[in-house]
C-alpha cells in the first residue's frame, strides 16, 4: 500500500504550504465518491 507523502513544499514567510499528495489512486477515488469531489491525478517525473 502506498502511503501519503507531502512534497513540493513552498515556503512563504517561514510558513510551509505543502500539497498533501496521496499515492493511492483507488483510496482517493473512494474518498472522492464519498465526498463528491474530484481527483487530480498527476503523472510526474519531478524530484520528490
Amino acid at each position: 500500500m502506498l502511503t501519503s507523502r507531502a512534497t513540493n513544499v513552498h515556503v512563504t514567510g517561514g510558513q510551509a504550504m505543502p500539497i498533501d499528495w496521496s499515492h493511492d489512486f483507488e483510496d482517493a477515488l473512494e474518498r472522492a465518491r464519498r465526498e463528491g469531489r474530484s481527483v487530480l491525478l498527476d503523472f510526474s517525473a519531478a524530484p520528490m
Binding site: N8, V39, L41, S44
Partner: protein
C-alpha cells in the same frame, strides 16, 4: 508547477491530489499510466468521482495557465454530471478572471453550450457566437462558435 502558492492552495482546496512518479512509483505509473493513456510527464488528469477522466493537461504550464486549466477541469466535471448552471458559472469565471489564458476561449465556448443545455434556448448559442466577434477571433473556438451566428454556415 506546484511551487506557486496559488496553485498549491487551489489544488488542496478543490481536489484530492494523487501523484504517481515515473521512477519512484514505477509499478503504479505503468498500471495507471496504461489505464489512462498517460504517455508523457507531466500529465495531469482531472478525474470525476465516478473515475472518469474529464480533463487532461499535458506538459508544463506557467501558474496562471495551469490555474485556468484546473478550473476548466472542474467545470467539465460539473458539465458531465449534468450540473449545467454550475458548469456555466465556472466557465464564465475563467473568461472573466483569466481572460488571457488558453482556457478562456474554450471556456467561453463551453459556457454557451452549458447555458443551452440548461435552458434549451438556442439564443444561448447565438449570444456565444456574438461574444466571439469581439474577442478570441484567432482561436479555433471562435471558428467553432461561428456556426451559431445568424450568418453561420
Amino acid at each position: 508547477m506546484y511551487v506557486d502558492e496559488r496553485v498549491a492552495g487551489f489544488v488542496s482546496e478543490n481536489f484530492l491530489p494523487v501523484r504517481v512518479h515515473v521512477k519512484d512509483d514505477a509499478d503504479e505509473f505503468q498500471r495507471l499510466g496504461g489505464r489512462f493513456g498517460a504517455e508523457w510527464t507531466p500529465t495531469i488528469l482531472i478525474v470525476d468521482p465516478q473515475g472518469e477522466e474529464r480533463h487532461r493537461v499535458e506538459g508544463f504550464l506557467p501558474s496562471e495557465e495551469l490555474l485556468g486549466q484546473l478550473e476548466f477541469g472542474l467545470a467539465r466535471v460539473d458539465f458531465s454530471a449534468g450540473s449545467y448552471s454550475e458548469a456555466e458559472e465556472r466557465f464564465r469565471d475563467i473568461v472573466e478572471g483569466r481572460p488571457d489564458t488558453e482556457a478562456a476561449p474554450q471556456a467561453l465556448y463551453w459556457a454557451g453550450v452549458a447555458r443551452y443545455k440548461a435552458t434549451n434556448d438556442g439564443g444561448a448559442l447565438e449570444d456565444t457566437a456574438r461574444a466571439f466577434q469581439g474577442r478570441y477571433q484567432e482561436t479555433p473556438w471562435a471558428k467553432k462558435a461561428s456556426v451559431w451566428s445568424d450568418g453561420g454556415d
